[in-house]
Symmetry: C2
Subunit: 225 residues, 2 copies
């Protein structure tokens, strides 16, 4: 075992939550990172998170952390994975229960605290050097999100209430990291029954586009069988 | 806070793994349960599991537990959810990282240890009274499995290498808890590209059925877009 900083008794495990908060803006998929002060990670970036409270459930700790950092609630929040490698934290045995959130890009005021140097949005495909095992967590979160949008309606949490199919396609393309055929996308997405036409058209355009909304703004699986 | 049995310091959390091990046999979806000795759960049933070792990752603890109880490895094993309510264990703060496994029903010899009264297979729709929050874990595991088979090829881990479409349909019906239209099922499952005809026919039948095998016996998402 490598040498550890600080003291911890055998069998004494700490549990933290880490949040991968995604948004789509400026045609890129972005996540929130905080810049750390504490050694040995001084100056490196990490996903926001922290230890769970003694009288706090893990799910509530994740909601609290999301609210503290972004001011938002009522967005899509899902437990991603619990990372529990023995040596993942130099301060002792810390298990990280990670969550990912999907939030719309408007009206988010990121708040940092004195514990960190800074907080900001970063393109998931171009991250700075990350602390702990957060590079692995980032890769897993992206993969899960890419899978998820293929079989669930969760992009509702990234889009405004009303949106055009062009805007919806752009969100998919940014997440999947590849161009989609326009006609094929329109046909498929209409056949899945997850969206419906709204009684609205896009304003300020030469040819106003039909706007759509999600049939349900709650998580739903798109069944294939 | 309710009174707790035993001693635990503030902030001292224990981490356990719990395994929901599914199989399909005799036309029902079954899970493994162990019968507990320790108070206050004496005589009640629970999913097999235990605390993670000091020098053991959580994922390795799950694999060890599966191997110990069933003798199998190389089956589908997925982290399900981490349950972390404050009062879930009367002995103190214990976080449960649950996993679910899908195993074929043949050649499994369940092994219990002296710590428990008994071990056995139970129909997921007809479980005895469960210890801890395991009733909630059981409900979540079933829901996740029902979702999962709709968008991934994971039933490969419940079926033998070669199977007929009738056998495959039966596994889906048992998991989903409803009858499927035969013609529709055959058409859809063939169109998904997850199985291929094997160069074999079922033996011992008046009209031998075509046998199939999975194109890949690794987890794969069935994309809809």
């Amino acid at each position: 075992m490598t040498q550890r900083i600080g003291q911890q008794n055998k069998g004494d495990i700490k549990v933290a939550v880490d949040l991968i908060i995604f948004t789509v803006s400026d045609d890129s998929l972005k996540v929130i990172l905080i810049q750390m002060k504490k050694i040995p990670f001084t100056g490196k970036w990490a996903f926001p998170g922290g230890l769970i409270g003694d009288d706090e459930s893990i799910d509530n700790a994740a909601k609290r952390e999301l609210k503290e950092k972004t001011g938002v609630a009522d967005v899509y929040l899902e437990q991603l994975y619990t990372f529990g490698d023995v040596e993942r934290d130099p301060y002792g045995r810390v298990v990280s229960v990670s969550y990912f959130a999907l939030i719309p890009s408007e009206n988010i005021n990121l708040k940092t605290i004195d514990k960190y140097f800074d907080i900001g949005w970063f393109d998931i495909t171009n991250l700075p050097e990350l602390a702990y095992d957060h590079k692995k967590i980032a890769a897993y979160a992206l993969k899960r999100l890419q899978w998820k949008v293929e079989y669930a309606n969760v992009v509702y949490s990234l889009l405004p209430r009303y949106f055009s199919l062009t805007e919806m396609q752009k969100v998919y393309e940014v997440i999947l990291g590849r161009k989609l055929d326009r006609r094929n996308f329109h046909r498929k997405v209409k056949s899945l029954g997850i969206i419906k036409p709204a009684n609205k058209k896009q304003i300020g355009k030469h040819r106003p586009a039909q706007l759509y909304e999600f049939s349900s703004r709650k998580p739903r699986i798109i069944a294939v069988l």
